[in-house]
């Protein structure tokens, strides 16, 4: 073996370890045990966060319910062909885990976003229901590769969709429900960002189809980077208009409104509907800061007109996203997805309810009488040192005699 071959072997082993699955780490964990090790991006949620997580999801969903969105519950697994077909599913193919169904021998996909399932249900089982159809959902989804800001691969998604409408009113309604839901879950200082992911295409018009591939790449890089000088330097007729839109983006609607007159009808009407949504929400949500960034195209793979993101002070990344899209059954729709992991990071630890220790000697009847009054109890173990066990199990009160009041510990 030459020295270069030696290196080869070492290098490929190192490559495998860095990209491969978590192999039994016999070499790395000396004398330890990796029984507690979970695959990358997965974790156990303990108390009190698990309760907090469930409460936050419930708060968001109860708000959607108040807005008339009916809860549905699709399965975790579906056939790959239906889950990742047209519409919102197609954009998610790379993010989705697959496994073979031993019964049908067809490939199944583990949902990575529930929007595609809602679209499927609305287009099949609920196809004959009157439109608009308002549906809500909440559940776990799995992602193959986590995104930059979310190391988690198992996420809790809560969301709502209006099927059969994608007008400004429907967009405003969904955003309103989302903001109120987040506030109800305990998130403060929500900000809203509105975008039009396809505005660049509309502005470019016919030019886009005949554009040189290298120029096109530079163009979308410049838009993605918000680099006005690079954009202005490109040999594209619409470059100046795109730069104008970029300059006019921000917290104020005035600059964009002024721009509407200079744009052709298609682009102007799109921008106009974005401004309408902003105006409506400004009145209804005076304490929510609204920014307009029409050329934002990030993470809106399947949205067709208005898109939006919700942010909150101190939380990195968007905590909810949504917009107008076409379902795989060619219906107009507007949806919102709330990323509950990110929401959870913005909540302060909940106050645990006080627990009352009921010694085993007092019997279940005493325990039940406290439970029926809505108290939280911990039932003692037979033969235990009562006060010591009560303290060890985190109780704040103890009942010494069946008829006496709970005493603080």
């Amino acid at each position: 073996m030459t020295s270069s071959d030696d290196f080869d072997a070492e290098n490929s082993a190192a490559t495998l370890a860095s990209i491969g699955p978590d192999m039994p780490a016999s070499k790395n964990v000396k004398g330890g045990s990796d029984k507690g090790l979970l695959p990358a991006g997965l974790s156990d949620l303990l108390a009190p966060q698990a309760q907090q997580d469930a409460d936050a999801v419930a708060a968001v969903l109860s708000c959607f319910s108040q807005f008339g969105y009916q809860r549905i519950k699709p399965p975790l697994l579906e056939f790959e062909t239906s889950l990742l077909g047209d519409g919102p599913g197609a954009a998610l193919a790379e993010q989705t885990f697959r496994l073979l169904d031993p019964i049908s021998r067809r490939m199944m996909a583990l949902r990575s976003d529930m929007t595609a399932q809602i679209a499927r249900i609305s287009g099949t089982r609920l196809a004959s229901r009157p439109r608009p159809l308002r549906l809500a959902y909440g559940g776990d989804v799995m992602r193959v590769v986590p995104d930059v800001l979310n190391p988690e691969r198992q996420l809790v998604q809560a969301g709502a969709e209006i099927i059969g409408r994608d007008d400004e009113g429907a967009v405003a309604e969904i955003i309103l429900a989302g903001v109120l839901g987040l506030q109800k879950a305990g998130i403060k200082d929500v900000t809203l960002d509105l975008g039009l992911p396809h505005l660049a295409e509309v502005l470019l018009g016919k030019e886009l189809a005949v554009m040189d591939a290298a120029i096109k790449q530079q163009l979308f890089e410049a838009i993605g980077n918000r680099d006005i000088s690079a954009l202005a330097g490109l040999p594209i007729a619409a470059a100046q208009k795109l730069a104008d839109v970029m300059t006019a983006s921000g917290a104020s609607t005035d600059a964009l409104r002024a721009l509407c007159g200079d744009l052709d009808d298609g682009a102007a009407s799109k921008l106009d509907s974005l401004l309408k949504v902003a105006d409506t929400l400004k009145k209804l949500l005076p304490d929510v800061a609204i920014t307009l960034d029409p050329l934002d195209m990030q993470g809106f793979g399947y949205h067709t007109s208005i898109s939006f993101s919700l942010f909150a002070k101190g939380l990195r990344g968007a905590i909810a996203k949504g917009g107008a899209y076409r379902t795989g059954y060619d219906e107009a729709a507007v949806g919102i997805s709330v990323y509950m992991e990110r929401v959870l990071r913005g909540l302060t630890a909940p106050d645990a309810p006080p627990f009352v220790y009921i010694p085993a000697a007092l019997g279940f009847a005493v325990a039940l009488s406290y439970i029926q009054r809505g108290r939280h109890i911990v039932f003692g173990s037979e033969g235990a040192d009562e006060a010591a066990e009560a303290r060890a199990l985190g109780c704040q009160f103890i009942v010494r005699e069946a008829a006496s009041q709970p005493e603080p510990l």
């Binding site: 020295s3 270069s4 290196f7 290098n11 490559t15 995104d147 930059v148 800001l149 900000t191 960002d193 993605g224 980077n225 918000r226 680099d227 006005i228 000088s229 690079a230 921000g250 917290a251 800061a289 920014t291 960034d293 990030q298 993470g299 993101s309 942010f311 002070k313 101190g314 939380l315 990195r316 990344g317 968007a318």
Partner: protein, 223 residues
């Protein structure tokens, strides 16, 4: 996230780029506190002449990491670093026109004549930029096996690690001194002002202010 979320944090790389970017900052009205320039200073975070802007000094690759996670809100990073990380959360609105160089594929001079890049199907490359290198070669149907090095890439071919490297080149003299020749250019590189997407949306006035001041400073420097 930082304790005070109303304060913006600017992350700058240590070393050569820092020296080049300081005049641009001065022109844009940004002056770090004097301790920032002291060589023996152990602190890494410094105040500036703006109450709502602090400055931190980190490694050039870490600027992108800080920005992507929203730990810093503004930064200075080479377009090489931005492309290597390719984080969707990072915007690069201003070309600062400093740190100009290019990213190239180079190989030992002795092999250069025999090389026909069009015939490659697999290459082994030593580089600091495995992601960009893989993408670049994948686009032309070549699988690149990258050996990640953090410096002294030019040494790799003569040590028998691999025949080719992907590295930054300013004048080409380091390549030449180590018996290497350029085969192809992957990208032109310069330093950019980078902005965290969320920060821009949450503090549009403050961020837009810095963008336009720095843009003006770059324009002035060019004139």
């Amino acid at each position: 996230m930082t304790a005070s979320t109303d304060k913006l944090i600017l992350a700058v790389p240590k070393g050569r780029i820092l020296e080049q970017v300081m005049p641009v900052f001065e022109q844009a009205g940004l002056t770090p506190e004097p301790a920032f320039f002291k060589s023996g200073e152990r602190r890494l975070r410094f105040a500036t002449n703006h109450d709502n802007l602090d400055i931190v000094r980190v490694r050039s690759f870490d600027v992108a990491t800080f920005l992507a996670y929203g730990a810093a809100h503004l930064g200075v990073a080479g377009s090489d670093v931005i492309a290597e990380f390719s984080h969707p959360e990072i915007y690069a609105p201003v070309d600062l026109n400093i740190g100009i160089c290019r990213m190239v594929v180079a190989c030992s001079a002795e092999f250069a004549d025999a090389e026909d890049p069009k015939s490659w199907s697999h290459v082994r490359v030593a580089t600091k930029y495995p992601s960009m290198t893989k993408d670049y070669f994948a686009k032309r149907g070549v699988q690149a096996e990258c050996i990640k090095l953090n410096g002294a890439m030019e040494l790799a071919p003569q040590m028998g690690l691999c025949r080719r490297i992907v590295d930054l080149v300013e004048t080409g003299s380091t390549l030449k001194a180590n018996g290497l020749v350029e085969l192809e250019t992957i990208a032109q590189v310069s330093s950019r002002l980078v902005v965290n997407r969320t920060a821009w949306k949450q503090h549009p006035e403050m961020v837009d202010g810095w963008i336009s001041r720095l843009r003006a400073a770059v324009r002035q420097a060019a004139e």
